[in-house]
Amino acid sequence: MFTNILALQDRISALTKLYSDGKTQKITSNLLTALMLTLFLTTVGFTAEPSKSAQQANVAAAPAAPAQKLATTVTAPAPAASSPAPVSGLPTKVRPNRAITISMFLTIIGITLCVVIWAARSTKSAADFYTAGGGITGLQNGWAIAGDYMSAASFLGMSGLISLYGIDGFMYAVGPMFSFIAILLVIAEPCRNAGKYTLGDILSFRTSPKPVRAVAAISTVTVSLFYLIAQMVGAGKLMQVLLDIPYRVSVIGVGVLMVGYVVFGGMKATTWVQIIKAGLLMSGTVVLALLVMIKSGMNPIVFFADIVANPLIQDHVRINVLKDALPTPGFDYGQRFMEPGLFLKNPLDQVSLGIAWALGAAGLPHILMRFFTVPSAKEARKSIVIALFINSTFFFLINIIGFGAALYLSPQLISSVDKGGNMATLLLAQLLGGGAGSLGGDMFLAFICAVAFATILAVVSGLVLAASAAIAHDVYVNIVMDGKADQQTQVKVARITSLFVGLAAILMGLAAEKENVVALVALAFAVAASGNFPAVMLSLFWKRFNTAGVISALLVGTTSALALVLISPVMTYPQKIADDARKIVVTLEKKQAEGVILAEKDLKVLDKSRKDYAKNNGGTSMVGLKAPIFPLKNPGLVSVPLGLLAAILGTLLFRDKRAEDMFDEIEVRQITGLGISKASEH
């Protein structure tokens, strides 16, 4: 395996050398070779050294997973993740077959590297690098957008949420499905007609280009890096739990692969990695959902009746979620699983999150960039419709998988393996494939693990590309060089930038191992919704909108979202951890005082809680708070109106005649597609 990869690497270097005579190019490829070498050396090394602590995975990567914090309240007297309560002899840890799983991973790596080699051949101009020369079809782009958007968090986290909290988890899936409506109706086609490569291109159309591009680049890099770090941390923790691959090795491994895809293959390779991933993800999801339906006799009415009548689910709802020590007479705890309010408790929070979904996705730079890869607005429309189909099918199937996991595995088992339920999909795959230890179970589990791995790779590649396009195209080419850079230089700069963005992401991913990354994703969506979205919309549809408007929208949108998240409940509050730990200590000590001899498990909990209390008591959050000031987990409800208001005020305070005169041009362009930037012309 090792020599194979080395050989591949040689071929990639040879190829890139063919297409460039610049020194920097050589340095880039040498650096990459060195990185790949380190990765695979460590990979060989780790097989002998299993990781010391396999903690629960925190597949935090959509504003989805605030499960983390709530989760502590779910498993009764919060046992440490390392000592989960065994449930009726079932396994308490997902144990994929390493040999099968790793060979599936390597197959995916092999296939995608072939794609990269093929894509590198035709990546010569800036348009090739950023938009695959505009030569992607609507159908391909639809799959790629779906591949860019569906994250491991949706695949693993959302089904887990459904398996633990029933219908609330399913309600959660509506937001990411619905985001495509705004994109389809008001964003995709106008942007395709009026833009070229980046967010900065659209925003600087009739404004002072340099300041606007600079602010747009900062916003793009911020949003993409937040999202990227969350994905990297999620990937690292997932691989650690599944395969005992040390956290560092997985973060570096994922990082090196994504850098390789983007640096050599640009948008073309990224697109195909996303298409392959979306194909794998959809086949895995369809098969899993189909197996659930077959097991339930293909009858949804019976399926849900079984769920409601299931004693384990009833116990879970009563004891773990509602905390009723004794059943309330006449209360149907099984039916309660089908009713809202078990997970989503604050309606305003839901509305706020809903805003982030409905508008945020339309402002995400890596999604925006995908519209430029197709030749026309008609193809852009087609791609969003296809992405919407794939996406809604996916989230619908996730609902079947989630409820299936609750019924066939039991919520108790799922939460004993991972408090947030993130292992539900994987456990279900193992069970429906034939059970742990069977060949079918091992194969199917390995396949689903590989799907999750491909999912992570595809999402991070798109993010790296978007961030480096902002730096290379907006900052370097258009601000530093005044737009005067030949194609070769542009591609070279874009490649170097991608390398550094990738390296930065790896370093930040390593540094963020112990951080609470849930906040980062909420932040990415909130910034996109409160800054980018109003700026793009008003650029396209409001005549008066100008430089001051763009800049104030982006600055106020970004800073208000950031500030509100920093004082919101998604941050870690040590004082709250200390208070919770104290409650457990008091309860258990009271039991001891009453003469009850505690089980070994409870003694461990008591010990851990005492330590947690000592460590966290008096502590404050990152910004020095003991408790959150802002009550909502997502800032959208406040920061979106603020961003919009700032855009309007800024515009009205500093009128700009030129921007108003040029409105006709951008409007005619966006509506008719006249003068469309044919990415293939150069």
Partner: protein, 102 residues
């Protein structure tokens, strides 16, 4: 880029263009707002009127579950309907306008 230049403000006064612009705006923003109202009614109703969500309709399947499912159908409906209208009307009008200008 070597593209020909257009007289943008002249096109912007073209009656065909104005017609296209008006129809696109009414359709796109109209459906966007309608779909958003439907979408936000989900957190609103489930948060403030949970009793409604508990009404059993088919076996144990209640209004809430079916309402969530309907969100998917509405999104797909909007996408399909927009595609039909855009392919039939907007693209046609745009093509006529572009022919007239070039």
């Amino acid at each position: 880029m070597g593209q020909r230049s257009y007289n943008w403000s002249e096109i912007a006064r073209n009656p065909k263009y104005l017609e296209l612009k008006r129809r696109k705006r009414v359709f796109l923003f109209g459906w966007w707002i309608a779909a958003s109202i439907y979408y936000f009614s989900l957190p609103f109703l489930s948060g403030y009127f949970p009793a409604l969500f508990k009404i059993k309709l088919i076996g144990v399947i209640n209004f809430g579950y079916l309402f969530i499912l309907s969100q998917f159908l509405v999104a797909i409906f909007v996408a399909v309907y927009y595609t039909i209208v855009a392919n039939r009307d907007f693209d046609q009008l745009t093509a006529e306008l572009v022919d007239e200008i070039q």
